[in-house]
Symmetry: D2
């Protein structure tokens, strides 16, 4: 138990189920003096909201997050920050027939085995809805990083099914409904989604998230290396099945003579490492890829078993909400998690440097 | 700071540098009653030891780990267990010329930036030698898992450079110096290593680690999901650049209708998930792949910079120790880390279930 | 930072200021299957509420705590539980004149020094109002302990100023407004409070809290001994200045031959230890005393300094809320904290014993 | 379980039993750049060593602590520090007769109930010998505090049995074997100990520990308040039964008008608070009292029970080691624990202030 918190010096603890009364979150460790408002949170929350494009689920949610504490006269005071979002739209009756059946590829079976009891409505605690609070907390972390260190975090789609992008232009990301940074691939993604909606099927995706202007020195060897904590934070997102840093799985076929990033007086000559070396940030761009599996809720009927172990059928969903690709929705979530880890590590690192002179940027 | 511990209910804390006096470890949370001796640790430590084959580094180490506490009359008592391994062979003079230079692809640069000071001999704390203690602690975890739950953890090489295995036979793993489970690929690996030693270069590798008989229900959503903690533990190992669970990065091109594992009264019909669903173990085999980058110490001279930022040269290593593929050495380390995470989660999970099956516990 | 959580296996994280929008709390680690409702929380919250007697502050608060997650069809599900209480009555204007002055014996000065910014309204985060959430979380812990282990926790007043009780009768505690277990001392307490209200002054108090039917074996040496964690939890309550277990400070003058509790086949022959020996519960009654300092808000004008260091005056409070003795209000808080620690330790201890009684667990 | 660590940002983890092979400790989070040698540790270890006076136990121990890692060219490097002390003198045969009996007032009974197994030799893990590592780690903390912030920590005896000191002179503390700061009470303490040794009995004691020059702002509300963490650390020491801060239990009878410390432009006018207000340090002297119960091992035979619940007798100790007053030995331990908490909090606090300007000393 006790798995609902993340972070050591910037800690986020959450609660809330998709069909419960509300979702909430407590942020502990945000330094005082950061100007923050509910509007600051809304931008990323809106990016997450389904219904902003025809390509994602029709389930509508208000996603209005209120700040209940920890901010006084517009600035954080250093005490714990409470956030709350009330659930407004559930359409519970969509789920009544699956009360005693385990939906394939959902967490129903494992939650039931673990707890002996679970909320069958929607995904309960395992639903993607819990990401509202990750994004809200991440928005605060992003603002702090940006204002104090000019660190920026950005995520985008690099692959969906067999469609792969060829180039990355940050300015294109918000111009389409896929967070696609390559203007020439948007049509292909549209076609893919259209076909999937017709088939009633879903597909996987690969996202990339980068962080720039990260100070050198973040990461706490040997177990809380920065890459290890990034992997942990990103793999804690639903539907993730793989993560790689820098050249990732491509290093398997690389020779040492080529793979290494050489140091010159002007900086590194390459970035195969993806910004992390020996578990510590090098100051270069941090580059991470994440693999998302296809969405679970599809329009195919399926065999499964009921709670008492009998073979049964899950009916095809005629109405309701159908996610052809969960990867699209995860872009703001992935940014939020990387921001949370970076701020946590930045705060943890500070302890170390306050007594020693280094050539790093003075934090 | 404070990154030298891993685990919540089975916690391992380590210290020690490659050229320091000794390495050590404290294990906190091992349940009482487990029979354990120094011999139990030696098997996995020997598997880790270089020199047991011509394919790995010639650096010889005793790797004898002593148990200093926590075991009485052959059984763990529940109090903290102290382990110690004295460093016996360092050949410090191998490193004197690089005292003020940052070796490419080593952690020298980042450690110096972070701490303002670092031990330049060998890899210091960032050296692979620290894995001795991971393996020793992992041996204890493995024994506990095996004796109490029949859980077994096994790792092996699946790819090195462009050479990929075709089949997996556990009985072959210890029959060659590569931990290769495919008898028909051993020659190809031998050739590859031979060529690399001649070139003085190195190559990456992919390992797979599996766990069988894992009880269903392990994992603590939403942040300490089992896959997230596995990713964290494995990515904390030096030289790792990617991790994937089950079908991993292959899910990107999979459709939901094919990717899902259906439940039947006799169990799951497939295992695309790799044994983890919703962040919780399903009872199926846990399957994880890890990508290792090529070794840093190679026989090529390289440009780099010195501590005062000037361009300089790192001489080629004529003598010394040369690791063509660090992946080979990491097999016992990867097993150890997975075992540590599984035992930690098993202990954490137990808290939950004790109210389901007990009324008044016999404490 | 990051001081807003308590507990390892039963963890309580809180937020909220006295004059903010709301107070809240997340409970992580509550085992599944516990029947809990908002009514269950109200009993202890009502005991805490000022206004239920003329002896405590007139500040009225609704103290209605809502359960927002973690409970499904009346039972805990094992996921995180969110609690929320909206602040309804603040009377902010009472505090406007002290915006730039540090009230003596309040946390204003230290909070300002620490954070550089603080909410001056009421006590902000340092106000006693934050105890609402301690009591709500404690109510859940108490129910679990009672229903599963028959553990009961009870606190009461043993001394206020120079008035000391002579006997303890649990049935008397709720019969007066002082939580006084000695019917013959109630008049003396009434007189003392009456005099203090007239003077506009305040007084300290000593509370005693006991726990019965505690299983033997709770406590995690050497640092998380049960007494150490109890001391931590109780001293985290505002206005506490001392804590003692069993005979407490009286042991200073006791001889070893008299102080020790002898073991007989029928149990211990005495309980000088107060139920804890070697940092672990003995199964006997746990007995703890806590010293509370006099309330800070009194009707005396006082000298102090302003934020820019100048001598100034804090005016006497004519209206508003005046607490002659904060000890009275702390009784339910002290019970809550002891319950939280005991449940946390009970869950932590369980990990240890499951290998003694199981072979293959039915998970 | 997992109770063998203390601290969040300066963390100390220990292992070792009184009659095991060795004791050890890992310090994680010590900032880099601190000059430290084994000699630095010996001073406080020697103060702890029995045999340096006729008033404490005759058990002799080498108490030589080796530094095994984390220090390079005389300075801490920021990586984990390993300390080791080999046990050299045990005289195991002293304990063979009590293998199956629970000694009164020792932790035998509770350890057996908790773990189902315990090391009966000496006190095993519950022995006072584990304090060697607390003192060694504390010595490092003390040095850091002194060199970087001029913080000093000092403890001394204020009462033993009915003998109470009248004045405090730091220069007297090391001039007698009692750590007594009042030259005029040394004779009385000598007489008391002499009488107790003849009787074969023991007595309790009260120690006081103070810290000066503590920066304002240390402490992390609401649960990790500085006083709460100090209470936790000190109550984790064997034989402690009570702790109080500042006026402690005397506040019960104090009126608010007298108890409060007024702020003036020149600082506080008094220090009833003992240096902590609202859970945060005020910059004033931190004053803490700790009550120690009488030693368990005395020369009186006693009734007790055996492991199978039968009435039995523990023979009087004729030879061996007899501690008339454990309080004397705890003085360096108490200093060590306060130093560890202060450094931990100082490091935790730093995270907060690095972005905000305050009037505090620039840390």
């Amino acid at each position: 138990m006790v798995g609902n918190s993340i972070g050591e010096s910037f800690r986020v603890t959450t609660f809330g189920e998709s069909h419960g009364i509300a979702l909430g979150c407590i942020i502990d460790g945000c330094p005082p003096g950061l100007a923050i408002t509910e509007e600051d949170l809304q931008y990323d929350l809106a990016r997450r909201r389904p219904g902003s494009s025809p390509y994602v689920t029709q389930r509508s949610e208000a996603d209005e997050v209120k700040i209940l504490s920890g901010v006084f006269e517009g600035k954080t005071t250093g005490v714990s920050i409470g956030l709350l979002a009330t659930n407004t739209d559930s359409r519970s009756k969509d789920y009544s027939d699956i009360k005693n059946k385990f939906r394939p590829n959902h967490a129903d079976y494992t939650y039931y085995q673990k707890y002996g009891i679970y909320d069958h409505r929607g995904g309960g605690r395992s639903s993607a809805r819990e990401t509202v609070m990750r994004v809200a907390a991440g928005a605060i972390a992003k603002k702090y990083l940006k204002e104090n260190f000019n660190v920026e975090v950005r995520a985008y789609l690099v692959q969906m099914g067999a469609v792969v992008i060829d180039k990355i232009d940050w300015d294109e990301i918000e111009n389409n409904a896929f967070f696609c940074p390559d203007i020439d691939k948007v049509d292909a993604f549209e076609q893919l989604i259209y076909d999937l909606k017709k088939e009633g099927d879903s597909i996987g995706a690969k996202l990339q998230v980068v962080a720039i202007n990260v100070p050198v020195g973040l990461g706490e060897p040997i177990f809380d290396r920065l890459d290890a904590d990034i992997a942990h934070a990103l793999m804690s997102i639903s539907a993730t099945k793989g993560i790689e840093i820098g050249d990732g799985f491509n290093v398997i076929e690389q020779k040492g003579s080529k793979q290494r990033d050489l140091l010159t007086p002007d900086g590194f000559s390459s970035n195969h490492a993806g910004g992390i070396l020996g578990g510590i940030s090098t100051g270069q761009e941090i580059v991470v890829n994440i693999a998302f599996k296809p969405a679970s809720s599809i329009l195919f009927p399926a065999q499964t078993i009921s709670k008492n172990g009998e073979l049964t059928q899950i009916a095809a969903k005629k109405k309701g909400r159908h996610d052809p690709c969960v990867g699209i929705r995860a872009v703001p979530v992935v940014e939020a998690m990387l921001a949370i880890v970076l701020l946590d590590h930045l705060l943890r690192h500070r302890i170390q440097n306050f007594s020693v002179e280094t050539t790093t940027p003075k934090i």
